[in-house]
């Protein structure tokens, strides 16, 4: 018999032998739904206007689960705007965004975060008046102590969770060489340290997918090498990445596939060598603006 499972609003067809198996599958449908979805992120005809300026112009692309996908393009190509649109920083003009099989187009940023999609900011946004440690500790989702009443009813449980979160934050700081500034205010960090703090907050959030906006900008090469390794390691454990970077070494070594954007449109996508040898890409980066963006 043919059986349909409801996969987040869409019906998927599954051929199943018996009724009891069907019931089993029905109970597993959420799990199956996840398995069927090979795309972590799907962006369909995304458009974003700022007044008269079309920053993103009908971009479509996909990020497969388990990949480290790169996103490159000249300055002003619309990369950061695309991130903002996906994260729900502002309402988009038109288009659709599917994350892990679910339509997240209308969701504001705090809700996309809770679905497991975390992003860093190109221009760091630390909580300037808070310490590095507290910048990190505030991140994990669904903290008991974030509920006003839990602090009165279950203070012990809140404190225990705080200790766990603190330990985790200490680990992240150790990894990112931030431990010596643990109790320094976020606003007093150097530019590179602020980028690391951005990355640290993303690591604290236990996400399904991380969008990094120029993680390498202003970070010293040795540490950058370690960060690249860490990204690769997290990726091996199943975390999906989408990375904007101008540092071509980082992109070419780490990312596959690589998406190329220019003038708000998706120019092409492919492996590192395909991208490097593509005439359109060269033109976009070296000479003005690409004419055709299909």
């Amino acid at each position: 018999m043919i059986f349909f499972i409801n996969c987040k609003g869409k019906l998927k067809e599954v051929a199943i032998g018996s009724r009891s198996k069907a019931i089993f599958f029905y109970n597993q449908s959420n799990y199956l739904c996840q398995k069927f979805t090979i795309h972590m992120l799907k962006v369909e005809s995304l458009v974003k206007d700022f007044g008269g300026l079309r920053a993103v112009d009908g971009t479509s692309f996909e990020v497969k689960k388990g990949t480290i996908t790169g996103l490159i393009g000249p300055n002003g190509a619309g990369k950061t705007t695309t991130f903002n649109a996906i994260a729900g920083e502002f309402p988009i003009t038109s288009g659709r965004i599917i994350f892990d099989g679910e339509d997240i187009t209308p969701l504001p940023s705090f809700k996309t975060f809770r679905r497991g999609l975390v992003r860093t900011f190109q221009i760091p946004k630390p909580f300037a008046g808070m310490t590095v440690l507290e910048n990190l500790m505030m991140v994990p989702k669904g903290q008991l102590g974030e509920s006003f009443w839990n602090n009165w009813i279950r203070p012990k449980a809140v404190m225990e969770e705080e200790m766990r979160i603190r330990d985790e934050a200490v680990k992240v700081m150790e990894f990112l060489n931030l431990i010596q500034v643990a109790e320094e205010r976020g606003g007093n960090l150097s530019g590179g340290q602020m980028k690391l703090l951005e990355l640290g907050r993303a690591l604290m959030s236990d996400p399904k997918m991380v969008m990094l906006d120029e993680p390498g900008a202003g970070v010293n090469p040795t540490l950058l090498g370690e960060i690249v390794e860490k990204i690769a390691e997290l990726n091996r454990r199943g975390l999906t990445f989408l990375i904007i970077e101008h540092n071509m070494d980082l992109i070419m070594n780490l990312c596959d596939p690589i998406l190329v954007m220019a003038s708000g449109q998706m120019l092409m996508q492919g492996s590192a060598s395909e991208v490097q040898n593509d005439a359109r890409v060269l033109e976009a980066f070296l000479g003005g603006v690409a004419e055709d963006g299909s």
Binding site: F110, M130, T131, M138, G145, F148, N151, E162, R166
Partner: protein, 324 residues
């Protein structure tokens, strides 16, 4: 005799300071911790004052409501609940909007509340106000001084309780989110925090505290009318919080006592040295003086007398007490 006079004055002064202190703590959670610019403080204070007055006051022949003669603590609880309710409605509508809308709308609300107090005779008796309000513990003695000392004790008890509660909740992950929202609301949202919900909670909590302060005031003075709740009160509270140290509850209390001291002293000074013909003009000079103190403070000690704590949450330090 001299000494008794001084003591009486001091007690009276401290009681008045406690109304300001409590209101300042309320503003501190909104402005100091969450960055909410509430300029309708006088309005929330008035709602609390009128609520308690109506609930605990005697029966007046010319009002439709009120005269319930309820025990004073019930009136105070009522003041908290009603102010919280009013704040919830205002906050729900305005906190989603752009930041500056909160300022505009809270200012408008405070003006409206004063207009309501002035015109809704059946509830507030208009400009004539509500009088003969009961004062807790006043039957215990016949001496006004003892009465006042007892009332001061009550005020200190209430402030102590509120202070303890706020210190505790603000040092929690909940308070940490408030601080993060104050620092950067977009980043807080990107970290999954429902900024609107936290702001609403902070707004309600702070406003309810202002309402409680209003109730304490009403039952002490025993007579309230719309002129008690002018916009100057809002300005005074802001100056107190900024001078004391916004983001620090103890600072809010210290700032309140200090600035109320400055205000009262300038009052006495004007009464003593300025000829009666110019008293009103001289009274305006006090506002200039307050403004001057504010400017000097912002220039030379913007963090206030007692700066906010470097670390917000109790668990947010590298070495906790009892750890090595």
């Amino acid at each position: 005799m001299e000494l008794l006079g001084v003591v009486s004055f001091l007690v009276f002064f401290l009681i008045q300071s406690s109304f300001f202190s409590l209101t300042s703590i309320g503003l501190n959670i909104q402005w100091g911790f969450t960055g909410l610019f509430n300029v309708g403080i006088a309005g929330f204070f008035a709602v609390g004052a009128y609520t308690s007055a109506i609930m605990t006051g005697p029966h007046y022949d010319d009002t439709l409501f009120g005269g319930y003669d309820l025990p004073v603590p019930v009136g105070w609880l009522g003041a908290i609940v009603v102010t919280a309710f009013v704040a919830a409605i205002i906050g729900y509508i305005t906190l989603r909007l752009r930041e500056d809308f909160l300022a505009i709308s809270t200012f408008g609300i405070a003006v409206s509340i004063q207009l309501i107090a002035n015109n809704m005779d059946q509830l507030t008796r208009g400009p004539e106000g509500l009088y003969s309000l009961p004062k807790p513990l006043e039957d215990l003695s016949a001496s006004p001084l003892v009465d006042n000392i007892l009332y001061l004790g009550v005020c200190i008890g209430v402030i102590g309780l509120v202070y303890w509660g706020f210190e505790r909740i603000l040092r929690s992950p909940w308070g940490r989110v408030l601080r993060a929202i104050r620092e950067d609301e977009h980043a807080a949202m990107a970290m999954g925090k429902n900024v609107f919900a936290f702001r609403l909670q902070s707004f309600i909590l702070g406003s309810a505290t202002m309402g409680l302060a209003g109730a304490l005031y009403a039952n002490f003075i025993g007579f309230i009318s719309p002129t008690d709740f002018l916009p100057i009160f809002t300005i005074q509270i802001f100056v107190m919080v900024i001078v004391g140290g916004s983001g620090n509850n103890l600072g809010a209390i210290v700032g309140s006592v200090v600035m109320w001291g400055v205000w009262s002293a300038s009052d006495s000074l004007i009464a003593a040295v300025v000829s009666p013909d110019f008293q009103t003009q001289a009274a305006a000079a006090r506002i200039v003086l307050i403004g001057l103190i504010l400017v000097l403070m912002l220039l030379y000690r913007p963090q206030g007398l007692l700066p906010e704590k470097h670390i917000v949450s109790a668990a947010g330090r590298m070495k906790l007490k009892g750890e090595d």
